[in-house]
Amino acid sequence: MPQKKEVSEPTGWTLEKTNETTAVLHLSGDWRTKEHASRRFDLPDGIRNVRAECEALGEWGTFLPAFLNKVHNACRKHDAELDVTALPEGVRELLRLAWAEPPITLPAEPKFSLQAWLQEAISGAHTSCISWMAFIGDIALAIHRLFRGTSRMKWHDVWLEVIKAGPDAFGIVSLIGFLMGLILAFIGSIPLKWFSAETYVASLIGIGMLRMMGAVMTGVVMAGRTGAAYAAELGTMQVNEEIDALLSMDISPIDFLVLPRIIALTLMMPLLCLYGDIAGVLGGMAVGSGYLGVSGTTYWNLLTETTSLNNLYVGLFTSVVFGILIGICGCLRGLQCGRSSEAVGRATTSAMVTSIVCLVISTSIITVLTVFLKI
């Protein structure tokens, strides 16, 4: 059995003042598990020298050097010297290591003030506006290069992006489109029943789905599915310094990464929208024949009679605009991404939010314009 030292001081340490300027720190007891270190340590005023003594010190672990580190910091604040030569060698070694480099003082964080906050918000909005315009300008230049034939864009990349943005999204777009048609028809049937005009569910679906809902729902799905993916992809490339590698080889990331994605999405959006429209019309038809008693032929005839193709054209135009906007938002947020894993998450979220806001604003503008222009 190893000899256990008598634990004389249950407190672990005491500070004894020997004269005006010196004090002795008595360490005692077991410092392996006990939390002596958590006791507050205050250095009396006027002390210039503290000597640590350890006659009654038992076993020790991390707590002892951690505590002495705290004492050391307190002494430093009071310009006092801490003498640890009497301590066991292991502790001295660790402390020598810990005190080899003096601590640095970080600049204090500025206090919150409304003025500073406003200034920051305004300058933030300013830089963000400039980066948007710069990005759109870059894209315009890249398109110019594309037409002059000096672009570094590879058409094969466009094709790969087309496959990712188009066919791979069929499943989700058809599901959402069909359910959208279903919901519109059910909700529409409530007022239609008041006037016994259930057959007009066809016109409701025709105008509602083709003119707007088809494009908007496809837009939302693609913003979440593809826009966010663009931001995550480009953001991760930014973290891995892949974008820097392109830049240093004088390959514009706009040509090489952004343009293929925007072109692919802009080509695919109207097709997906058309596909979603068809699914929606079928959804409406299902409600019509199953719940409202409108036969498939009546539904189709009424649809073609009352819904002019202009509705479809407006919807498809809207979806082209959406394609451009979602592509721009996703790629811009990706390229703006910081250099940490957390920043990629932020870029993805912000791409999604920006896309949705852009979708809603552009839909409002298009809707108002088309109504005034009587399209």
Binding site: G61, P65, N73, G90, L94, T105, S340
Partner: protein, 254 residues
Amino acid sequence: MTNQPDKAPPPIEVRNLTMAYGERIIQHDLNFDIPKGSVFIVMGGSGCGKSTLLRHLIGLNKPADGTIFREGVDFWNCAPEDQTRIMRNSGILYQSGALWSALTIAENVALPLQQFTDYSPQTIAEICEYKLALVGLAGRGKLYPSELSGGMKKRAGLARAMALDPELLFFDEPSAGLDPLSAQRLDQLILEISNSLHTTIVVITHDLDSIFNIATDSVFLDAETRTMIARGNPRDLRENCPVEKVRTFLRRGK
């Protein structure tokens, strides 16, 4: 008496270990002990399976064949509680620090303490401050990993690995990406930790300076024969190893 402290089982014993990814065998028939308190180097050329061996020793990968004993217990055939205890008793410094980027470095060091101990927040803060001072980062606790240089990230990662005072520390390529002075400092730190805390240290590296500075024992993995071809203190191996490949490696190709 068989349970004398000096007869305690070594922290790691490897018996007939074969490591494989699916059908592809990385290394086979590895046999070695890592003695308590040693600084044990796993060396070998690129692609020989050093990092895979590290993952096996830590307990992240399961051996395709053979046994790994940790503290005398067969790691893959023991109670889950034993596995957790063994895992918690080791700290790992990953190649690029692997600090959680959403937390400050003090919070990084505090997380294992908050999760696995019942210390008061005050105590945890003091231990963090001490651990950060130990790796030369005193006063920098409030910084985020993205605000640190590569060397500082590694040192902060080391402070986190040591937070729970593990008896076993793993280092994955500690000197990779560091300037000679920072690498030297980190080697110094490894030696000091080994000397003053008697921690067993396992280092994966192919940095010769660092190998001769810190090693007390080593194993050499060969990429061609896919097994270990040398074992012992690298200084002795450099002079007396019967395998020429090992001597050439340790003499930097001369």
